[in-house]
Symmetry: C2
Subunit: 339 residues, 2 copies
């Protein structure tokens, strides 16, 4: 069992820098495309045997030091009663947007095993196969709320902020309900065998620091506080959240994920004794190999003072990335950090 | 003549905090909609009399301390030979994307008066009318380049970064050409009577600091360096650029614009003796009036140590903002800062 990733999450010294990539099980891999060829994205998420297969693909091909459960952050929103569809090219769509008390009242706090048993089954199956640690995950409440309020992805998040600013009680009510669902969901993942839990706050970077502190952070704290009994390391990734880093320390997470917008040396100065994960621009995987290795070398050098460091991209790997470029990056991290 | 804004740009003490709002002449104003009712966006941009009318609208209605020329950052890209169209709801479209040397070679460096005389005419007309300073502007080269490379707005900027990382010489060649065009264009605006120049880097926030330093900042420096003779104050606004602030100091700008993602106190600590402009979340204009005034009070308090401070939004005002809410914010800034 390769536990380098777990050690880094706990801030312990490691023999080399462990690496995984957000969205490592995904469309850039031809073997993933092959599985997806016959099945919708949502059906794939609900078929444990196939989830296991695609979760393992990048670990096998690219020698990742961690696996991440193949699923989607919106699965629990569907379990709450929000009708979810995925449209090719457009992404997730919720037809019944939540914009008033009646909409909020319709949402339930689901029993995770009863409604999302396929996720826990995937975790149990994966643990029998894996030689590296398995990451479970969920969306952070703020990010999940934006999807329910906007009805899908958004460019401006006008409806979300309008609710925050003009109906704060309704907004907080929605956040509380999502938080209760998310906590139970992550506890179920832990019980099923997840070894690390990552909370993805993909859209929280649209908030001013004062609004992050009031409308988003408290719910992340509730979730992480509620997971203390599991003793699992928790990673909090606030995408586009460089200016939220000082506040994110208070989330209670063991590891803070960084996007690519911040120099990791600057991040280390600001977060002190938290482990860090990140932060190569995913598109930098397009660099010629020598330049890619050089950039990775600079990042590793800059990260030497981190209290635990996990190499990752600053965002999900892009679907047009040649797998060999990803492999080049993984190999460079391993070689240059002394594996 | 109200020169409070000019003084703040130069870092001088002012009797009260001057205010204007990005995109203050725009769709949220019914009087603007009325002008737009009969004419396309691009035709409006090319009709000096109408540009004058819509430029003056917010100054009159909201008592702004500065006017900004009504135009679009892509006007000079059209003058370079890139065929520009604006589609309702979709934004700007360039059919001939620039992705190779042949495409780059087709672009010309236009004579501003000959090709964009309507802009300079608008400036001359406005100077006869205005009792507040007039801001001229241009897009920063990086932002303009993204439009030419992507063919319009983009979600991921894949093509832009792919060119940066795999064809850096082509990318730099494009940046040089846009830079030459932009410098001449801003010099012409200065000559026509613009009193402050703002450089909008709307998309530069997608860059890692090391890439900003290599691919974007040098061209901003060239432009600002080339404008030294004009002695006009220059504002550089790097949208979503909180992590680029330390590098942006080197741009040579007199004023740095801030989006809403950074606490202004934190920005002051980092930029030292530059004047600052910003940084209310434009959507916070939806707050109930008491809460809006409170938030503005907190911002003004946080900004007292700035070496020159101009109140603004952290991004353009949203089209659904009630004008009375914008008025409430302007009045609050004036009253609370001692006008």
């Amino acid at each position: 069992m390769n536990d380098t990733f777990l050690k880094a999450c706990r801030g312990e010294k490691t023999d080399y820098v462990p690496v995984w990539m957000m969205r490592q099980a995904g469309r850039y891999l031809p073997e993933y495309q092959k599985v997806r060829g016959n099945i919708s994205f949502l059906s794939l998420c609900k078929t444990p045997e196939l989830c296991v297969e695609v979760t393992l693909q990048p670990v096998t091909r690219l020698h990742m030091d961690a696996a991440i459960l193949f699923s989607d952050i919106l699965i629990p929103m569907e379990a709450m009663g929000a009708g979810l569809e995925f449209h090719e090219g457009r992404g997730p769509v919720f037809h019944d947007t939540i914009r008033d008390q009646a909409g909020l009242d319709r949402l339930i706090i689901p029993d995770p095993e009863a409604t999302m048993g396929f996720v826990m089954e995937t975790i149990r199956l994966l643990r029998r196969e894996l030689q590296v640690p398995l990451i479970g995950f969920a969306g952070a409440p703020f990010t999940c709320a934006t999807y329910l309020i906007e009805g899908g992805s958004s460019k401006t998040f006008w409806e979300t902020k309008k609710m925050m600013f003009t109906q704060p009680e309704l907004f907080h009510g929605l956040m509380e309900k999502i938080t209760a669902c998310t906590l139970a969901y992550l506890q179920a993942q832990a019980k099923a065998g997840a070894q690390v839990l990552q909370i993805f706050d993909s859209w929280v970077g649209i908030l001013a620091p004062c609004d992050f502190e009031e409308f988003a952070l408290p719910y992340v704290q509730t979730i992480i506080g509620g997971l203390q009994d599991t003793t699992l390391p928790i990673i909090y990734f606030a995408n586009n959240g460089a200016t939220l880093l000082d506040l994110s320390i208070r989330s209670g997470a063991d590891v803070l994920g960084l996007d690519w917008r911040i120099n990791i040396r600057d991040a280390i100065r600001r977060v002190g004794n938290k482990a860090l994960q990140g932060n190569l621009d995913p598109f930098a995987l397009m660099l010629p190999r020598d330049a890619l290795r050089q950039r990775i070398k600079r990042m590793l050098d800059a990260a030497t003072d981190a209290h635990g460091y996990i190499f990752n991209l600053g965002h999900g790997i892009h679907q047009f990335t040649p797998p060999d470029q990803a492999k080049c990056a993984v190999d460079a991290v391993h070689e240059l950090s002394g594996r």
